[in-house]
């Protein structure tokens, strides 16, 4: 079932059509890859979905609800999460606090609540902490829970950003280059997480340059070039497209 849809969306930056009348559909329970050369407009598509920028034309809908004009946090609260290309951790918070900060949709975090019932806050915090540690355990970061996020290696930071996204429990996950800059072992665990999310019924969208990754995890591929979708289909078909091979893969 298609949950997230872009219909004839255009975004112009100073005369350049960064995104040019594109229509995309993302299905629940599937991993869709968005590939294409640098500057093709892939990250702009994510920014449009997240509400960080507004389309000049076209419609973006999630489960039939119009997203255009909503604020980024409202879109996030509808269950659309984002992994940023540049990670964007809360650098000077502890690793475990990075995860705990993401549990928001299920918790009471009001000021009055913490003033009037500090003991209930303490109980809630203990539970959140356990859940955060369990998630960190899953990617092998539990031992670093008390470190500042700043002190992790780049690969670990990427994993932490993924864990933070999991804690946020979104139904749609927009992953912008989740495997760039991580070592082969971590790559394996990241791929595992992505596949698992698809199986769990999430709508997963990946921007990726690693062709092996695309073949391994993607159920469907959109190829984007100069702001337009020029090819789409099953991974092997798109990667076999002579135009894609010539302009992107270089064969």
């Amino acid at each position: 079932m298609t949950t997230l849809e872009l219909n004839n969306v255009t975004k112009i930056f100073g005369g350049v059509r960064a995104v040019d009348r594109i229509s995309l559909g993302f299905e629940q329970g599937k991993v869709t890859a968005l590939i294409g050369p640098n500057g093709a407009g892939k990250t702009t598509v994510f920014n449009l979905i997240n509400g960080f920028i507004r389309p000049d034309e076209g419609a973006i809908t999630f489960k039939g609800k119009n997203l255009v004009g909503l604020k980024p946090w409202e879109i996030a609260q509808l269950g659309i999460g984002r992994l940023f290309q540049d990670v964007r951790l809360f650098q000077r918070l502890k690793v475990v606090d990075n995860v705990m900060a993401a549990f928001n949709r299920y918790n009471r975090e009001g000021v009055l609540f913490s003033l009037i019932m500090p003991w209930k806050v303490a109980v809630q915090e203990r539970k959140l902490r356990e859940r955060a540690l369990a998630l960190l355990e899953f990617v092998g970061l539990a031992g670093d829970a008390e470190k500042l996020a700043d002190n992790l290696s780049y690969g670990q930071q990427k994993l932490l950003a993924i864990v933070r996204l999991l804690a946020n429990d979104s139904n749609v996950l927009l992953l912008d280059e989740p495997t760039a800059g991580v070592n082969p072992l971590m790559l394996k665990s990241i791929l595992e997480v992505i596949r698992k999310l698809g199986r769990e019924g999430k709508t997963v969208v990946v921007i990726e340059h690693n062709l092996n990754v695309i073949i391994e995890v993607a159920d469907w591929v959109y190829f984007m070039s100069n702001g337009q979708i020029t090819s789409f289909g099953l991974p092997q078909d798109v990667l076999g497209d002579p135009e894609v091979r010539r302009t992107y893969i270089g064969i």
Binding site: L93, E109, L115
Partner: protein, 289 residues
Amino acid sequence: MNYVFHIMVMINIYALLALSLNLLVGYTGLLSLSHAAFYGIGAYVSTLLMMKLGFGFIPSLLAAIVASVLLSFVISIPSLRLKGDYFVLASLGFQVIVFSVLYNWVDVTRGPYGIPGIPQPEVLGVTVSSIFTYFVFIGVIALLCGGMLYLIGNSPFGRILKSIREDEIAAAALGKNITGLKVKAFAIAAGFAAVPGVLFAGYMQYIDPTSFTLMESVFILSIIIIGGTGNITGPLTGTVLMILLPEGLRFLGMPDAIAANMRQVIYGLLIIVIMRYLPQGISGEYRFE
């Protein structure tokens, strides 16, 4: 002994100012130059209510907090949508406006003449009058408010504020209403800044606008820059140091005219040295950049 109690009272008052400003600067990452304005709003609103309308101490304290919170929206709602620097400028503007109002609205505030004869606080039928009772009274209120600020800082709410400080875009992508949360943080800080204003007026029994100038805002900011921000120990360290420092100079036997200037020079030097060698302050957690 009275001298020691007086110093302790001043430390309590400034500790509350520093701790409440810390919620903005250290937790939320918002630099504000209007803290003395809210301090002054607290002092003037409570004093006028007590002297003109015959309010009791506690009702006037509560009214001062409410007034301060409401006035905080005047800056926060229009300027927090805009980013960092605009907010600093808006807070500067607000500080200047509040001072001008206190200084020039002579019919109500008596302007530069100040308001003498402010009644001593009376709570539960007991009038606070000796320096020792002031020390206990102000200490208890400071402890209560400080405790509340501590709870807020360490609550899930405090953690969200810190996440905003670290990365607004990432926080928004996790579903946090950044503008709404900043407006709230600013209102809380303003509400808590009114309390030391009320205490100061009740303690001095005289107020005039010169206690609530831009320089005062800068002084409160320098307390937390020097002491450190983002936790509770930084602002407390800064307060004790910055209140005791000029007292120490007094014991050096410097003539008053020179000591006053020396104080400014020392504060300035301290800020420069701290920013260079200890960017998170003496015992803070958050590093200015």
